[in-house]
């Protein structure tokens, strides 16, 4: 059932292994016999050694093989795609959905519609590369092709990164240690530097600053979202990003989207926020389980963004002032003009 090819074997010598993957050095420790093969080393261990390493013999063998494959870089080649095509299925009454949408890297698409209309369903269809086997009957093509079943499932996990409202950081680590750990999984050349970049970038998106030494679980909502977005843009291999009604308070929305565009990803985000909706190049309108229309954001609409952002800023200033104990006896001008 192996998805990973290459019959890695244990004929590698200990010194070669340690050069190949630093993890071997930690595992094996200083050895008087660097020219021993991994297989012979494994055979030489007694049950005390195995206990110390917290492995059974069978497990350790599998682990050694994994470390070899790991170092050979089988796990994380960056997945690139040229196109994501969504073919219509049916709405909640079973009527045909008229849809054939082709998205290319760098595309930012918003998904709008009332609660319960099927926004999350659409994102879910993309996540599992639906082939007529979800309630909507939609089909998803990658680079113009129907992925065959084995490829579909092997691919789906790697193609799609997700951000959604109820996601949190749960590990008990500092921001720096964790992001570095993520960078190590990606086998980037300099994990420490990569982590520093992600954190710097997240700090630009978030209103309140945090450092590498901050504990992940202490981050505010805005800081968490900023870090998740920066991490997905800079460290995730997935070429498609699905954002499901992520709350936008406390982050710079325009910068966040620019960052994702720059990383050449295809971004779909379901949202009720007019500013996010209009920042997208296109917006998909959903009603009763089906796509009603795909609207290109017009130049006029985009021009309105400046005004919307102006009012949005006024609102957040007002919010900040209240949070810091201000009174609101007189309204700032644009609000006051209604009375």
């Amino acid at each position: 059932m192996s998805a990973h090819m290459s019959p890695a074997n244990l004929s590698l010598r200990l010194d070669e292994a340690q050069r190949l993957n630093p993890a071997f050095a930690t595992l094996i420790g200083p050895t008087p016999k660097p020219d021993l093969s991994l297989a012979d080393w494994l055979a030489s261990l007694d049950s005390g050694d195995l206990d110390r390493l917290k492995f059974s013999r069978v497990e350790l063998e599998a682990h050694l093989l994994a470390l070899i494959q790991d170092a050979q870089g089988f796990r994380n080649p960056v997945t690139r795609i040229k196109s994501l095509r969504i073919l219509g299925g049916r709405d909640k009454t079973g009527a045909a959905e008229n849809l054939d949408l082709d998205l290319r890297p760098g595309a930012i698409v918003s998904v709008v519609g009332p609660t319960g209309s099927g926004k999350s369903r659409l994102l879910g269809d993309i996540e599992c590369l639906a082939q007529g086997d979800t309630p909507s009957g939609r089909r998803i093509l990658i680079d113009g092709e129907i992925p065959d079943p084995a490829r579909r499932w092997a691919a789906s996990g790697k193609l799609v990164a997700q951000l959604s409202q109820n996601m949190n950081f749960v590990v008990d680590l500092t921001v720096g240690d964790f992001v570095e750990m993520h960078a190590e999984c990606r086998a980037v050349d300099n994990p420490e530097q990569a982590a520093a970049e992600v954190i710097a970038c997240a700090n630009q998106l978030a209103g309140e600053k945090f450092s590498a030494a901050t504990s992940l679980t202490q981050l505010s909502g805005g800081q968490s979202r900023a870090l998740m977005i920066a991490d997905v843009a800079l460290l995730s291999t997935s070429p498609i990003v699905l954002i499901d009604e992520i709350e936008n308070a406390g982050i710079n929305r325009r910068q966040a989207l620019d960052l994702l565009v720059a990383s050449d990803k295809i971004v779909l985000m379901s949202t009720h926020d007019p500013i996010l909706a209009l920042h997208a190049h296109k917006r998909i309108v959903i009603a009763a389980g089906a796509v009603l229309e795909v609207i290109e954001t017009s130049d006029t609409e985009r021009a309105h963004l400046a005004t919307l952002e102006h009012y949005d800023r006024l609102m957040s200033e007002l919010r900040e002032n209240l949070r810091h104990g201000a009174r609101l006896e007189t309204l700032p001008l644009p609000f006051g003009s209604l009375e």
Partner: protein, 232 residues
């Protein structure tokens, strides 16, 4: 008859996963039977019964539930055959990190959850390391970064396994699991088949009922801790 062992630590979402999967299998016209192994009591059988899934429950009492499992699994298979099932899923309590119910010839699924922390895959032992498919649940509540690190660590612990992200609340991932189950081998009986990993047996006096603390009461294979030296 295809036999599938589903193992994983408590509360990771094994029952949720099997219930969602049952829906998908039912739509495909396959008949599922479930046997639930636990220690002293289980409520899972009620959940299966409510979904009209034939279920048998086995309570291990004082023995390790995985040892109990292996002494009974072939009888379970006969039972499932008698009631005309196409597929038997054995949900095990997964309380013992040293043992694992995975059997050669039966598709082995291990369930772990994203909440258990990124170092957990390394600690779980043969239940995960000997599995064909590892389902990772509760991705809906952790960050993308943690999901990627967790999946990577699962892969390091078991590079041969298919890794499936599964949402126990929505059933997202059921299609993929059902796909892997279609590939499970068809078997008539488990007689003569072997466990994928030998289970440690009762080895010390406490395994067989001793309750008193003290050197005089420790017999058999006793291992003692070593402590760091006390600095003057």
């Amino acid at each position: 008859m295809r036999v599938i062992t589903v193992a994983g630590p408590p509360s990771v979402g094994k029952t949720s996963l099997i219930l969602k999967l049952a829906k998908t299998l039912r739509e495909e016209g396959q008949k599922l039977a479930v046997v639930k192994f636990d220690c002293l009591s289980t409520d899972d059988d009620l959940l299966y019964r409510r979904e009209k899934i034939p279920v048998a429950a086995g309570l291990a009492g004082s023995v390790c539930p995985d040892h109990f499992f292996v002494s009974n699994i072939d009888d379970c298979l006969q039972w499932a055959q008698d009631i005309g099932a196409d597929l038997l899923i054995a949900e095990s309590a997964g309380l013992c990190n040293r043992c694992s119910p995975h059997v050669q010839g039966a598709l082995a699924v291990c369930v772990v959850d994203n909440l258990s922390g990124v170092h957990t895959p390394k600690k779980i032992g043969p239940m995960l390391k000997m599995a064909d498919v590892v389902a990772i649940t509760k991705g809906d509540i952790v960050s993308q970064a943690e999901r990627e690190v967790f999946a990577h660590n699962v892969w390091r612990a078991n590079p041969q396994a298919q890794i499936v992200a599964f949402n126990g609340l929505t059933g997202q991932g059921a299609g993929e699991l059902a796909f892997h189950m279609r590939g499970a081998p068809d078997i008539e009986t488990l007689e003569g088949r072997r466990l994928r990993f030998p289970m440690p047996s009762a080895i010390c006096s406490y395994c067989i009922g001793e309750t008193c603390i003290g050197e005089n009461h420790q017999r058999g294979n006793v291992r003692k801790m070593r402590f760091p030296e006390v600095l003057a």
